[in-house]
Symmetry: C2
Subunit: 363 residues, 2 copies
Amino acid sequence: LNEETATMANTLTRLYPWLTNPAIISAPMLGAATPALAANVTKAGDLGFIAGGTRLDTLEIALQETAKLTRTLNSHRKDTIPIGVGFQLFNSKPSTATAAFSKLAPAVAWLFAPAKAADLAEWARGIREATAGKTHIWVQIGTVAEARLAVELAEPEVLVVQGSDAGGHGLARSASVISLVPEVKDMLASIGRADLPILAAGGITDGRGVAAALALGAAGVVMGTRFLAASEAGIAAGWQNEITRLGDGGVSTTRSTLCDRLKETKGWPAWYDGRAAINKGHEDEKGGMTDDANVALYKDELKRGDSAWGSHGRMVTYAGTGVGLIHDVKPAAAIVKDVRSQARACLERVAETYGRGKAVSRL
Amino acid sequence: LNEETATMANTLTRLYPWLTNPAIISAPMLGAATPALAANVTKAGDLGFIAGGTRLDTLEIALQETAKLTRTLNSHRKDTIPIGVGFQLFNSKPSTATAAFSKLAPAVAWLFAPAKAADLAEWARGIREATAGKTHIWVQIGTVAEARLAVELAEPEVLVVQGSDAGGHGLARSASVISLVPEVKDMLASIGRADLPILAAGGITDGRGVAAALALGAAGVVMGTRFLAASEAGIAAGWQNEITRLGDGGVSTTRSTLCDRLKETKGWPAWYDGRAAINKGHEDEKGGMTDDANVALYKDELKRGDSAWGSHGRMVTYAGTGVGLIHDVKPAAAIVKDVRSQARACLERVAETYGRGKAVSRL
């Protein structure tokens, strides 16, 4: 087992030579994950993501920008840009990715939310063909069944295992990482793929969460909400203020499709919803308000800008349950550095107190 | 920080001298947590719980039985029975506990689900008076706000922090332990109570979950679902078969109040529901069936016994999301022994791979 843990860690650093263990990855949050955020996470020894979106021109500009921003990084594979690009498959076309990647190939394409599972195979094949395999495939899953299918259909280099605490979109029904990560690991072992690195996502915002994810069997983590409070995040000040203000994340946030309806976002497969902070819109819905009325009030408030965020307001504050552990906005590089060193210290402290032969047992 | 972790572990072994670190506690599951289960968990170096229920005569008999079963244990405080008793406050009377405990005092009373928070204070005071402080108070909470109130009102010796993955009853809305445990720890530190031991519950069924809980800041764990598959558990074979059969716990189980309605259990405060395996009753409810019709079908099936459990049936299978990690029925002592040794090995393995100075970084 020692070997297996070390193998998984080594696999990540073999695939992405600039990576420091444990890996702390920034999620491809649409809008929020700017080229600067992604590049600075990569340059701090991790791997940053941008969101692919649906437009080829926007994606090409973003790839050029990340290429420029990461030019000074020496340790990466020279045949790719050392960042990743995330796609929501249900509303994107593989041709957008392949057209852009045949000019500038990112290290990773992260596939999420196919309308039907078979789309994973088509996307993975298309991207690998377009970049001669230089761009790796990561797949985000939220159940053991999805994980099994993803491995079969897309043969990913890495699996991202998202639990129910995650902010933004995810499966409406899933376990948290506490049981999902080990159950996915056991399934992988049962099909002879104990070597496949997995990353845990959902509710992880500091070193304690990272240490826990490693104990559960992950080779690293993906954080979303924590990077919403990075200086480089491309979000409204009102939203960012909420991230540092909110506490008691299990009750200040909730899973719902309301935010999609307010923003008139169409097409999410029925089995997804999103976790966001509870606000006036949620309360009015509970009180029986129609979507039409709620949308009208939401659109009115859009004009108010940053002051319309908060529990009194109607703006959408996507956030995970870990939001109560975030108290400051700082550069992405400082976030990964602080989280990693906290994780290492935490692991050593706990192993020292509770490890074999060292336990404070039967004093 | 090293000192703080060690202090919390030492506090537990000072309070309960027979305890081995990390502590693996069996939950007070009504019916399922038999005196034999509780006694065998305690005798294996942990602390077992029975459910207090609502009847004085039943509670007194159970206390006598646990006293008899733990008589051979030498290392415990001689003034109490080395087990705990759990109460659901909303449907129990403090006088039941105090009348029983003034004759036979258990080491711990675990308080859960008050109809109003102030009841915690009344229960804690009553029990401490009845046993001259010999019986300690543990309070189960599911949010940071509840934790703060519990510390203020009941001055508990230990806090049990239950996350959303837990089987059976819990808050309808809460985070999982991944973010809830560290946020509760930070709150405790902010009020000068970093020393207060907390135990993590919800989705933890094996050593990896225990190791994760310790990394998050807990001094040990409480397991419910795992002990439903103990040889000593007082549950129907049909239920126990489901525990070892079910996989993909995040989708095979769901949170709902349906099971209370089927069993015609009254009085749970509105903010609680329960996690159980999805079955025909859940499907029919989704399809629009009335409670009356669903209850009638449930009662019919009760006669079928063990064969009425399963996704095709209507019997209630309370289970947490960790159910997919449980594959066998074994004695409670073997469960705690195996889980603890797996947890220790896991912590050492992970610290060795990822700890400070030992990281496989920048190979």
